[in-house]
Amino acid sequence: MPTREIAGKVVEVDAEGFLCNPNDWTKEIAEEIAREEGIEQLTELHWKVIEFCRADFKARGEPPTLRRITKEGGVDTKTLYALFPKGPAKKVARIAGLGKPTGCI
């Protein structure tokens, strides 16, 4: 796996830029990946989603589906798409330092 430096830390990433090891993740890494994804500033609501995803991943071993984020994570579909526009599924997972999501919903 290739490595790259994000926010001053050298981490392993896959071909699409997802962190290979979720434990490498830091808040600074999230901020830098968010900027790469076109989100200049992570707001409180962004963090709410990111923290839900990380906690859910820890509990269940896979990145949550968007359906799970809207049902259990406390943000509705409209808000989620406004926070992470143009393809929220991969963006959320990438910023949260999780692997590429495989769910269909």
Binding site: E36, L66, R67, R68, T77, K78, G87, P88, I105
Partner: protein, 156 residues
């Protein structure tokens, strides 16, 4: 990350049975989750998916459906369609897929566009008021051609 041309998907839904309603919605939602622009055109029996008094009652029948493995002679018995429908709804819920109305609302909230087919609506004596409120407009086939310009098209 990388600048790409905006990908666009047009899905034509022409079937009104429960099993044929889901493929279009799953693909539309997957496209939206991936940042792809989505237009869904409901024509003929597909209109049942967006007709207020029908959309919550779509059914699947084992009759004449070889995939379900039930002999046709049994499938004609009263209650078989209801039974198959209730079984399928349970399986759908197990996978965490929402019912039709909620699924379409999700697609609309995610920025997807829904359209009713004018000709089919005329034939079935339906007006825009009979449709799910998330439906954006009623279109003729030629207008659909304009909207779907440059899109990848899926016919279901």
């Amino acid at each position: 990350m990388n600048e790409e041309k905006q990908r666009k998907l047009a899905i034509i839904c022409s079937k009104g049975s429960l099993d044929m309603a889901y493929p279009g919605m799953v693909l539309a939602n997957a496209a939206l989750m991936s940042g792809i622009e989505v237009h869904m055109f409901f024509t003929f029996w597909g209109l049942d998916m967006i007709t207020e008094r029908k959309m919550d009652h779509l059914k699947i029948t084992p009759l004449g459906n070889p995939s379900m493995g039930m002999p046709n002679l049994l499938s004609i018995l009263p209650g078989m369609t209801a039974m198959a429908t209730s079984m399928m709804k349970k399986e759908i819920a197990k996978l965490d897929f929402p019912p039709v109305r909620e699924f379409l609302q999700m697609i609309v909230d995610a920025g997807g566009h829904l359209y009713g087919c004018k000709m089919s609506m005329d034939m079935m004596k339906l007006t825009k008021d009979d449709l799910f409120p998330g439906v954006e407009r009623v279109l003729g086939a030629m207008e659909f051609m304009e909207i779907s310009e440059g899109a990848q098209i899926i016919f279901i």
